[in-house]
């Protein structure tokens, strides 16, 4: 067998092994398998302020660290956050102000600080307030 072909075979074996292990890991973490998550986007809110808040949530890339209804980074879900915090607390969490700041790592607090000048901040708070526990 040509030596090049042997190298190709071993690379293909690696690819197969890695994809299989990756799929296994993913299946163990998500027993329902692919497509289990509800991908349907909730309808646009009727209140224009809440709609503007949701657009701001998308525009600012909040889903990099947060998820809503399973969409986004599942590390810090925001489902029901409107039931847990009032408007002032939500605002503090968004811009990394006290008292929320004490619970945030320094680097994240710094990143959040820039949202203090965000013109849609009030709208974003209004949107988060609509995320209530059913």
């Amino acid at each position: 067998m040509l030596r090049q072909t042997k190298a190709k075979l071993l690379s293909a074996l690696t690819a197969a092994l890695v994809v299989a292990l990756a799929a296994l890991f993913s299946l163990l973490s998500n027993p329902d398998g692919p497509g289990a998550r509800d991908q349907a986007k909730p309808p646009a809110p009727a209140d224009p302020r809440v709609a503007a808040g949701r657009r701001a949530y998308e525009r600012l890339g909040c889903a990099l660290c947060h998820s809503i209804a399973g969409a986004g980074n599942p590390g810090s879900p925001l489902d029901g956050v409107g039931s847990r915090h009032d408007a002032a607390a939500l605002r503090a969490w968004i811009i990394g102000a006290e008292p929320a700041r004490a619970s945030l790592p320094e680097s994240i607090a710094r990143r959040k600080a820039r949202y203090a000048s965000e013109p849609d901040l009030d709208a974003l708070v209004a949107y988060l307030q609509t995320l209530r526990t059913p």
């Binding site: 090049q4 890695v18 497509g35 889903a63 990099l64 399973g70 980074n73």
Partner: protein, 439 residues
């Protein structure tokens, strides 16, 4: 350790290194499921980076790890594995993007956190690395420049990627998972230090002096080298060295060449180089007395790996004759009387390098040389055209199965000869080839 066992060990070690990050993910506590596709993409990202890390090891030229395979195969593997790793990393990004673009956050580096921009730049660098390497010849990149930038971008890409995964954090919450990646990172840095500093330092301490620059037929130049203040190097006939000329070993401007001289001779070595590229065209300008550096020997293409064979068959195309010449010269000095056949393909008779010496070797060895020429007038004893199945069949002895076969030449020739030998009933385990143009 037997070569087959050693090969199995190193393949297992390599598969373990590549899949370790995935097993670490599997071993609890796993973060709550983030959706199948998201977690699948994350796992591919980890595995892709682990593979890219193994790439450093593959080209670090560890003799123990490369010996069972032959280093040409390792470099080919480096090339194919790069494609697999890049595919995994690209899939990591594309799947996340298709799953939900919002979870990638803003692509604007002013808005995105540093670790996300680091990941994007790393992916871009990996694409550049692979494209530049695969298209190096067609884009006519200077080989030395390519080697330096390849190493630099590879290190930059891996460092950025490590920043990306440590910054993303979620899957590495347990300290021992972070420890695994920090260990990987430290290992990679140690490998880079070994390749860029430690090995050049060892090479620099054992310089060689050019004793002679000799022209051969067919624009081939032979450099004779003598050790300067050390005992030289022991090698198996057919192996090769990395040669550095008119540069410091730290500059990493090395080029691989087969040793053509006898392995049974004195400390003086010879390499025979054909004018093919930028560096090889400059070999004739080297002068006796100049200092050069050698790293080696490397390679598994040697009769000494198969000492018990009842005889050997060599099939050379052009300058692919160099390692075979070393085996023939060595056999002559050892007064080996076993039957040998050499098929030697060239374009025209006047440019057949070493043809006079091969004739002389025929007097000292039980060697039959079959010249195969593509063009022009030639002695009646020569075959014309290519080294085809018919040519092989005409000149191979009847008892051809137990012989060991060594093929060295351009890839199309190697491929064709291997196919022909298979149809002539030669077991593939007895056919050894060395890839000719693997860098």
């Amino acid at each position: 350790m037997a070569p087959a066992l050693a090969a199995a060990f190193w393949i297992a070690a390599y598969l373990a290194a590549v899949s370790a990050p995935l097993f670490v993910l599997l071993a609890g506590p796993t973060p709550p499921g983030g959706g199948f596709w998201r977690d699948f993409a994350m796992a591919l990202g980890f595995a892709g980076l682990a593979m890219m890390g193994v790439q450093f090891f593959l080209t670090a030229r560890f003799k123990r790890a490369t010996a069972p395979f032959g280093i040409d195969l390792i470099y080919y593997f480096h090339r194919y594995l790069a494609l697999v790793a890049l595919a995994a990393l690209a899939a990591h990004y594309v799947i996340l993007r298709l799953d939900d673009p919002a979870q990638l956050g803003s692509a604007d580096p002013r808005l995105a956190p540093g670790y996300m921009s680091a990941g994007r730049v790393a992916l871009l660098l990996f694409v550049l690395l692979v494209v530049a390497s695969l298209a190096r010849r067609s884009l006519r990149f200077d080989y030395d420049w390519w080697r330096i930038t390849h190493a630099f971008f590879a290190i930059a890409a891996v460092v950025l990627a490590l920043w990306h995964i440590v910054g993303s954090g979620r899957y590495l919450s347990a300290p021992w998972k972070q420890a695994l990646w920090l260990t990987y990172g430290a290992l990679w840095i140690a490998l880079v230090a070994q390749v860029r500093l430690l090995r050049p330092w060892r090479i620099a301490r054992r310089p060689w002096r050019i004793a002679e620059v000799r022209p051969e037929r067919g624009r081939v130049w032979t450099l004779a080298l003598e050790p300067l203040g050390h005992e030289g190097l022991r090698f198996q006939p057919g192996q090769f060295v990395w040669l550095t000329a008119r540069a410091s070993p730290y500059a990493l401007r090395e080029h691989p060449f087969s040793l053509a001289s006898s392995a049974a001779g004195n400390a003086r070595l010879e390499v025979s180089i054909k004018e093919l590229g930028d560096f090889t065209r400059s070999v004739k300008d080297l002068r006796p007395g100049e200092k050069v550096y050698l790293d080696g020997p490397y390679g598994a293409f040697s009769i000494d790996r198969h000492p018990a064979a009842p005889g050997y068959v060599f099939i050379a195309g052009g300058i692919g004759v160099a390692p075979i010449l070393s085996m023939l010269r060595t056999a002559a000095e050892r007064q080996d009387r076993r039957p040998l056949v050499l098929f030697y393909g060239n374009r025209v008779w006047e440019r057949v390098a070493f043809r006079e010496e091969l004739e002389r070797l025929g007097g000292r060895l039980a060697l039959k040389t079959v010249h195969v020429l593509r063009e022009g007038p030639a002695p009646a004893s020569c075959e014309s055209g290519f080294v085809t199945r018919e040519v092989l069949d005409r000149h191979l002895p009847a008892e051809r199965r137990p012989l060991e076969y060594f093929v060295c030449g351009p890839t199309p020739m190697t491929r064709a000869v291997e196919a022909s030998l298979a149809t002539l009933g030669v077991p593939s385990a007895r056919v050894h080839s060395e890839i000719f143009n693997w860098v």
